[in-house]
Amino acid sequence: MNAAPTSEFKAAGVEISGLQKSYGSVKVLKGIDLNVKPGEVVCLIGPSGSGKSTLLRCVNLLEQPNGGTINVGGFEATDPDVDIDKMRRKVGMVFQQFNLFPHLTVLENCTVAQLKVLKRKKSDADAKALENLEKVGLGHLATRYPSELSGGQQQRVAIARALSMDPSLMLFDEPTSALDPETVGDVLSIMRNLAKDGMTMLVVTHEMAFARDVADRVFFMDGGVVVESGPAAEVIGNPQQPRTKDFLSRVLDPTHVDIGND
C-alpha cells in the first residue's frame, strides 16, 4: 500500500498483524493481531511486562518491530521506505512520564512542532495551541514552565501538545500511572471527551473503569500475546479466559488475595 497523502489521512485506523518484537533473546511480543477502526477507542490492559506498552510504541515506531506488519491510516509503518516523520505527524502520543520540554513554556511546548514540523505561521500555531490548552482547561497557564505545574496539569499539557498537531490517531501509554490519585480524574475526563468527539484512540491503561466505560473494545494481553479481546463490557464484565479473570479480580479488588480465608 502506498503512503497516502496527509489530506486523506483523516480518521486513521490501525491494522497490526503478526507483530513480533524481541530484545536480544527475550520475546516481548509474540505475534500480535490487533486493529483499531477509525473513530474507535481501544484499550490495552494486562499485567506489567505483558508487552502492552511495547506494542503501543511499535505503532509509531519508537520501537522497531522484528516481524509482522503495522498499517496506520494508509502508512505501512513497517515498510523501510515509509516517511516515518510524516506518519508521526498524524499520530499523537501521550507518555506515562509526560515528557514535556522543560526549557519551553506551556505554550511553546504546544507550538514548537507546529512551527518546526508543520511550518505553520506563529499566529496560527499560537491560536491552535491556546484552543487545545483551553480544551484541557489550562489556557491560563500558557506562559508557565512545566516545572511549575502539577503532574496532572503536565499531562493535560502533553495531551494539548499532541492535539495541536491535529492528529488522526492518539496513542496513550499509561497516561495516569504517574499521577497523584486526585488528578487522575481530570486527565481521564479529558480523554473521555476526546473519545466522545470521535478521536481514534489506542490506550494502554490500568484504569478498568475507564476502559469499561469509554473503550469500544478491550484487548487483554499477557506474556506477549493477546489472551482475550472483544467489546469492553464483555471482556471486563464477563471474561472467558482464566488469565483474564485472574487479572481482573486482582485489579478490580486490590484487597483480594488468594490466601483462602475469604
Partner: protein, 264 residues
Amino acid sequence: MAMTARERARVSKIAQIAIFIIVVAILLISMNWPKVLDSFFAFDKIGPMFPDLLIVGLKNTIFYTAISFAFGLTLGLILALMKMASFGPYRWFATGYIEFFRGVPALLVLLALGYGLPSAFPEAKWPYAVVVMVSLGLVAAAYIAETLRAGLQAVPKGQTEAARSLGMPAWRAMVTIVIPQAFRIVLPPLTNEIILLTKDTSLAFILGSVAGQYELTKFGRDGITSLGAGITPLVVAGAVYLVITVPLSLLTRRMESKTGRGKR
C-alpha cells in the same frame, strides 16, 4: 581516658589550630624576609610594565583563550556527536582522539605543532595566533567533547521520544529539544574549561612571539630580566590572571547552585 564526645571534639579542634599556627610560624620565622619582600613584592619597580601588561598582555591572553575555546568547542561538539554515533569507526576515532589529547601535555602539542605545522604545510602561512588556537584548541576539544557528551546524554531519552513522536526528524529533535537542555547542564563545566584554557595560554610564549603577540606570562618573564624587581613581575601577571579566572569561577559556582535547585 574518659572524655565525652564534646570534649574530644574540642581537643581535636584545638590540636588542629595549634598545628596550623606552628607550621605557619616556622615558615615565617625561617624565611629570609628582606629577600622575600625584595623579590616578590618590589611593587615600586614594576611601573614600566604598565600599561602594556593590560592593553597588550591581558588583551592577548583573552584573545588566545577566546579563539582556542571557539575552535575547541566546535571540534569538541563534533567529537561528542561522533562518540555517540552508531557508526563504529566514528566512535573509535573519537575515543582514540580523546584519549590521546587528554594524555599528552598541552605544552608538547604546542611545540609539536609550532615546529611541525610549518614544515608539514610549507606553502601555507601559519600565523602565531593560529598555531596557538589550533594547539590549545585540539587539547581543549578532548575535554570539551567528554563534557558535551555527558551533557547530551544527561537529557532524558523521553525528551527525544516526545520530539520524534511529534514528527521531528532526529536532527531537529537534537537541535531544538536536546541541545538547549544539554547546554544548561554543561554551562558550569564549560566555564571551568575556559578557566583552564586561560591558564594554558601561558604556554604560548614558548613558540617565540614578537612584541604585539605577548600575553601575560611573557610580560611577566620579560619583567624579571629587565626590571630588577626579582619575580615581582610574575606576581603581578598572576594577579591579572586572577582578575579573569576568579569571576569566571564565581560565575560557575552561581550557575551550579542554580541548576542544583533543579528543573523538573
